[in-house]
């Protein structure tokens, strides 16, 4: 079907009222049109945030491409209508529609949300309601789409469990096909939603929250999580792509007309991370680390550029410096990209002689800043969080960079880490000063291009499920702000304070994120209340309201402090214990203890510490190296 002949869901007059009408018209390059009558399954994929953010997300492009490669499935996209369009659609009573066919979401077989951050939860309710569906799974009918969630937040999606029929745990490439086959089977033999969901729950990675009963202790902690049937698993195990190199890659991603946050081709070189930073959830839930082959990546890069016309290519992974074939890959990419006049962007490279040399080749040194993420100011705290970056690493890297002509440095920190003292916070200021001082020591006056700029930013730490800090207590907003103010004062006391800019994030968003991250099903009414009181786009400072959340906790009788302000005991049952991420609770607790002792743990490449992910028998876990597997 010709994209240019599609009838749009929104009339001209309404499109002209919108701030950016192209958010709602679809038809972009590489978007997929199919004949609705010729497919058996209509899947609507939703990123519950604004179009430009959602379109920058690689995971969506992967599943979109994969699902559309199935002849019997048509996967389309929908995003949260921005506040202007949200108001218009309510006023005009226009149901939310998918971008490709422009047909109402309610007519689809599946509505799949990717859950990338907790602050998008209210937008899920926005999308459900604008689609004309009941918010709670139990109130929806046989004809409503199956509402399914995937992505990192599903590792504890309990706060939104009542709104969903299914959570897909793990990498979608693995079992969506099985789920679709099952759905078609049920459709043929006479579909009943409850039967389908019951059977779906037997597929690995498929969590049907309604089939698990949660009971609570008198102290409000979870007592038990019990499956409602004997033939569904007690814990839901995540699915892992064992052969990443042979798995599907979207080399013809949809290219938006309007400028997305990521206006570039993205090459995922590796999945997972070998480093076990104790605050980091991604490092644990994407284990084990698996790399693609350089030849494969070169082929993808070429196809990507030919199919999209992007003028920039970005390497993506959690920690690209750890990619085994990096040197070869970059050499070959730089050759290819020079020829084609393509820019290469290299986020998340550790600063060392090699990376500086590469960056020198691909970037304008004067315009770009160097980025270090020490995450904590003092070495003591960096041991606590297991961040293996030392002051020497930073200073050596910075010195080389200053000699190479860089004079802007960004430093990322966290405040509110477990066991943090005021002196650890002050160390942020001291480290920033040291880097600034190094510039003046390294670069002679005659060669300086103005003043060095050190931008130090701190975010407030949120303990996440499936990390060593899942037992930890969070700071209160008052503590956060006091510490940030302390840091600021300390920055002002430094000799080179004029060269240092210090920023810190918003503390109130952090609190809500913390509650949602480790919350349980009793939070669903709170999220509903926030939404009913006008809460949408919580991830945006201009639309977020802390008060709205506080009011909702109050009116729902929920003590939110319970979820964040207490250190949890070793034997506490967590709401997310129903998920089996491969990484064992025993290992995480060991890491929690190591953190308290300030003991550093080696990364997967130096030594396997038996985290549990070895049970997936793939990636680094089955490669020969030191330590016991």
């Amino acid at each position: 079907m010709d994209k240019s002949k599609r009838k749009l869901a929104l009339p001209h007059r309404i499109l002209m009222e919108a701030e950016k009408p192209a958010r709602y018209t679809g038809g972009e390059l590489n978007s997929v049109m199919k004949e609705a009558d010729l497919v058996k399954i209509r899947f609507c994929f939703c990123f519950p945030d604004v179009y430009e953010i959602g379109m920058s997300h690689l995971g969506m492009q992967i599943l979109y491409g994969l699902m559309n490669s199935y002849e019997d499935v048509w996967c389309e996209r929908v995003f949260s209508p921005w506040t202007d369009m949200d108001a218009i659609m309510r006023r005009e009573k226009i149901p939310l529609f998918a971008l490709e066919s422009q047909e109402p979401v309610k007519n689809f077989d599946f509505l799949g949300f990717t859950l990338q951050y907790e602050m998008c939860y209210v937008n899920i309710l926005q999308v459900l309601q604008l689609s004309g569906m009941a918010l709670y799974s139990r109130d929806r009918g046989e004809d409503d789409p199956i509402v399914i969630g995937g992505g990192p937040c599903t590792y504890n999606a309990e706060p939104i469990a009542d709104f969903f029929d299914i959570f897909y745990i793990g990498e979608g490439e693995v079992n969506y096909r099985k789920l679709f086959d099952l759905y078609e089977e049920h459709k043929e033999k006479g579909y009943r939603k409850a039967d389908f969901l019951h059977d779906a729950a037997k597929i690995e990675g498929i969590y049907v929250p309604a089939l698990y009963d949660i009971s609570y202790n008198d102290d409000n902690t979870v007592k038990s999580i019990t499956p409602g049937y004997d033939d569904i698993p007690a814990t839901v195990r995540k699915t892992v792509v064992k052969d990443l190199d042979g798995s599907f890659y979207p080399t013809a991603p949809v290219v938006p007309f309007i400028q997305a946050t990521q206006d570039r081709a993205v090459l995922e070189v590796m999945r997972g991370c070998i480093r076990g930073c104790r605050f980091c959830q991604a490092g644990q839930i994407y284990k084990p680390v698996r790399a693609r082959k350089v030849d494969t990546l070169m082929r993808y890069a070429e196809e990507l550029l030919n199919n999209t016309g992007y003028e920039e290519l970005s390497l993506s992974s959690l920690s690209t410096s750890d990619f085994p074939g990096l040197k070869e890959l970059l050499e070959r990419l730089i050759n290819m990209c020079n020829e084609k006049k393509i820019n290469i962007s290299l986020p998340s490279l550790r600063i060392d002689a090699f990376s500086l040399d590469v960056m020198n080749k691909v970037q304008d040194v004067k315009k770009n800043s160097l980025t270090f993420a020490p995450e904590a100011g003092s070495q003591r705290m960096r041991n606590v969080i297991n961040k293996g970056l030392t002051v020497e690493n930073i200073l050596n890297g910075a010195e080389m960079a200053f000699k190479g002509g860089w004079n802007k440095v960004k430093l990322y920190f966290m405040i509110g880490l477990p066991g943090e003292e005021d002196e650890d916070v002050a160390a942020i200021a001291e480290l920033s000063n040291e880097v600034a001082a190094l510039y003046y020591d390294t670069v002679p006056k005659s060669e300086r291009q103005g003043r060095v700029t050190i931008t130090a930013s701190s975010s407030f730490f949120v303990p996440k499920p499936f990390t060593a800090f899942q037992w930890a207590a969070m700071n209160t907003p008052e503590e956060f702000l006091r510490k940030a103010a302390h840091c600021k004062t300390k920055v002002r006391e430094q000799l080179n304070q004029k060269s240092i800019v210090y920023h810190y994030h918003d503390a109130s968003t952090t609190i809500i994120e913390g509650v949602l991250a480790r919350g349980d099903r009793r939070l669903a009414p709170v999220i509903e209340e926030v939404y009913r009181n006008g809460g949408i786009f919580d991830a945006w400072t201009e639309t977020f309201s802390y008060q709205r959340w506080m009011d909702a906790f109050e009116s729902c009788g929920v003590d939110y402090g319970f979820y964040i302000y207490r250190e949890r005991p070793e034997d506490e049952v967590f709401p997310w214990d129903v998920i089996d991420s491969g990484v064992t609770k025993k290992y995480l607790y060991r890491e929690w203890m190591n953190s308290k002792a300030g003991t550093v743990t080696l990364n997967c490449r130096d030594k396997c510490v038996g985290c549990g992910a070895g049970s997936f028998t793939c990636g680094i876990c089955i490669q020969p190296r030191g330590g016991a597997a």
């Binding site: 994209k3 002209m16 192209a22 038809g27 007309f257 400028q259 030919n306 999209t308 016309g309």
Partner: protein, 232 residues
């Protein structure tokens, strides 16, 4: 070697809701995909040397807009068109490609007039009479807008001289030929508003389509594609 090529393009359907800068980015990517030998600027982040004759407003369709591109090699018109059209998104296509003479003026500076087709709905039987009244009038005043700082209102402008032609086509749509350029620039939406006013309201348009853009050569309006042709 450097050669400038002027592409005439059209855009139809839902893609008309993209803005001018988005079209620019769209064409840059399309040129990339096509493998046309674009010439790049110097510097760390080289970019294509591309410019448009007339920004396309959000929601406007076109059958005759122009994009100039510098290339490092001269190719035949058919080859250039085939290569670009092979990688176009549905709704956008190129219909002509003319190699420009060496000292050709920049397309934007050449624009002297443009043709438009305006879809009409609502009380369309009042349209013909309103058109006649506009064409007979000496003065058609539109709001002069605000001064650069946005403080004061400018005097109203008389755009009557800028309406070169206006009539109702057989299919019921409205045709307009309007003056464009730095001295006087008449916007089709403004003229439509005046027409609606003359009709006493009730007229609507859902789509304005630019049909052609002209340059002025020897007192005559000629399509931009023919204005600075090499060997012409």
């Amino acid at each position: 070697m450097s050669v400038s090529v002027r592409f005439r393009f059209s855009r139809k359907g839902p893609v008309r809701y993209t803005g001018h800068l988005d079209m620019l980015r769209y064409f840059q990517k399309a040129v990339m995909r096509s493998g046309l030998p674009a010439r790049y600027s110097e510097g760390f982040h080289p970019h294509q040397i591309m410019s448009f004759a007339y920004p396309l407003g959000v929601s406007m369709e076109t059958e005759g807009d122009y994009m100039d591109l510098d290339m490092t090699q001269e190719l035949g018109e058919e080859e250039m068109l085939n290569r670009l059209n092979a990688v176009m998104n549905e709704g956008i296509s190129v219909s002509r490609a003319t190699v420009l003479k060496d000292n050709a003026e920049n397309a934007m500076a050449l624009v002297a007039a443009a043709d438009y087709r305006v879809s009409l709905s609502g009380d369309t039987d009042k349209a013909a009479d309103a058109v006649r009244r506009i064409m007979e009038a000496q003065e058609i005043l539109i709001d002069g807008g605000e001064t650069k700082r946005g403080k004061k209102k400018k005097d109203p402008k008389n755009i009557r001289q800028g309406i070169l032609d206006m009539h109702i086509e057989e299919d019921g749509s409205l045709f307009m030929k309007l003056v464009s350029g730095s001295a006087m620039n008449v916007r089709p939406a403004d003229v439509f508003d005046k027409l609606n006013e003359a009709a006493g309201g009730g007229l609507y348009t859902e789509c304005i389509c630019r049909l052609e853009i002209y340059a002025l050569r020897d007192e005559k309006l000629i399509p931009l594609a023919d204005a600075d042709k090499k060997d012409a």
